[in-house]
Symmetry: C2
Subunit: 317 residues, 2 copies
């Protein structure tokens, strides 16, 4: 029921993913045409504008919450939704709960770049973060890069306003010191201008900065390509040229398409949660489900659990 195009695009995407052999259970209001997929009937829906924490508590029978409970009770391996991001976070915290040692879950967004995929986190779960949170995000991002993006010994960088260690705000200056002292393959600060070119395998930042960066990246690509299309369509000469460059434009779009992954992981929970864009297309939904399946196959949750260094040693004492 989540997102702007539910339920039709969601069901269509689920059917595409099911054709790959992924077992899918849909959670939604009675009467939806699921094309033959199993439907667990929900008695309510959380809307995009609702206050997340309140809605999750008030609507335990909603499709979003019921799907989380199914994962918590091991009736499903992962939950995927294009619904209210805040509600996904709240339901994850309440029903899946944090992994031991994880201070804050983070939203990890895979970004297609000119040099191949990279992952940016946190993309919005924590608008305010502390340096030690950023260190944990880096560890979680490294697991994601290894297992989901298939990158060996991923290079981690800290998003800041200059490559030199002394450039940044109070948060990044302190996080830089923590990252430098860690066993991660930390390569220093990344500048936002290099994000689309491929600044690093893992780009770490607080959720406010990450959300601003991600939306700016998406919005700028969209606005620029639309503007180019308009200018091209303004003259007959341009129109002809536009036809001729269409294959080139398509190659570029395939390479940088945000729908390539379709979703972001909410990392740091005891269950796998994938958040898709609110306006996800059928293809984006199918890819988000595939992303979730890959996480299950690679046991990302288990790998994260064994990778949280800080608190585990404390717990072992």
């Amino acid at each position: 029921m989540g997102g702007d195009r539910a339920p039709d695009e969601i069901v269509a995407g689920a059917l595409d993913a099911a054709a790959d052999g992924i077992e899918i259970v849909l959670f939604g209001l009675p009467g939806i045409d699921t094309g033959g997929l199993e439907l667990v009937e929900a008695d309510d829906v959380i809307a995009m504008h609702e206050k997340p924490a309140e809605a999750v508590r008030a609507k335990p029978g909603s499709s979003l919450v019921a799907a989380h409970i199914a994962v918590a009770e091991s009736r499903a391996d992962a939950v995927v939704s294009a619904g209210n991001t805040g509600a996904m976070l709240a339901a994850g915290l309440l029903h899946l709960r944090r992994l031991q040692g994880v201070m804050r879950p983070a939203i990890a967004v895979p970004i297609p770049t000119r040099r191949g995929p990279s992952v940016l986190l946190d993309a919005g779960a924590n608008a305010d973060a502390r340096p030690e949170h950023l260190l944990q995000f880096a560890h979680m991002g490294a697991v994601f890069a290894e297992d989901i993006l298939g990158l060996a010994r991923p290079e981690v960088r800290l998003l800041s306003i200059g490559e030199e260690p002394e450039k940044g705000n109070q948060l990044t200056l302190e996080a830089h010191a923590l990252l430098s002292a860690s066993e991660l393959h930390f390569a220093g600060n990344a500048e936002s201008r290099d994000l689309l070119a491929g600044a690093a395998d893992v780009v770490v930042c607080d959720g406010f900065t990450g959300n601003v960066a991600l939306k700016l990246l998406e919005g700028t690509i969209k606005t620029l390509l639309e503007a180019l299309r308009e200018e091209i369509a303004a003259t007959p000469r341009g129109k002809l040229g536009g036809l001729l460059i269409r294959p080139a434009a398509r190659r570029l779009r395939t390479q940088l398409d945000p729908d390539t992954y379709g979703g972001a992981y909410l990392l740091g929970l005891r269950g796998l949660s994938v958040i898709a864009h609110g306006n996800s297309s059928r293809q984006a939904i199918a890819n988000a489900i595939r992303l979730a399946a890959r996480g299950v196959e690679h046991d990302v949750v288990g790998r994260l659990a064994s990778r949280m260094p800080e608190r585990r040693s404390t717990a072992a004492v």
Copy 2:
């Protein structure tokens, strides 16, 4: 002497601006070919990598510092440089000094958007800022939008991670309350995805966020257009199409060209300071000088001085 292309592109840009009737004095090392412009000989230079505050104190005879002293002593109306941004800020604070009531100067960058010009501030002078600083940035940005961009009653928005007032981090939540209570034409939060499309006349944020946003905007446009050019050049069909769309691409570039303004104002000082990009072309330098001249003609410094509400009333007590 500032920037990557000094002195040749700087002198060339200065000559272009001088042809418009702007009186120009160059500050630089002896022996530079100034094409007939007046040269005040400096005995030193501040390099791009030097620590700003230390360099400004240690090198009072450097071209950058000497040019500031000329403004402080009313031998010039404004200083323009493509040099070390941090040194511009340090020299401005030390030699021009803050306007009464201004807590923190801010870098105001005019951005060409699809809907016309807007101004983003702070673009990097204050990596950490408090809510009351953001309120002052908004006032300074409004003066800039009125006098330099020629916009009547400019609309101010706060850069955040959602349009709703309750979306943001601690800083933006508090700044939102201050802006709402002000006499500014405050229209709420802006999302970064709308920056290039024209989110508002004045976009306010802390210097860390602004610097990340600005560099991401520039870097994404650059990477995307380069990638498109590469893909187009990969086939004969694409190459022909590329030739045909060239006028359309040029129109777009003219509309969104960051060199349109060539520079950013350092607002909040008792003198006018314009910071140009380190890799400024001749045209960017000429436009940065024109931007400075416009600021002098509109007495932006005087208008700012009469517009800082908070402390002025305190000072009047």
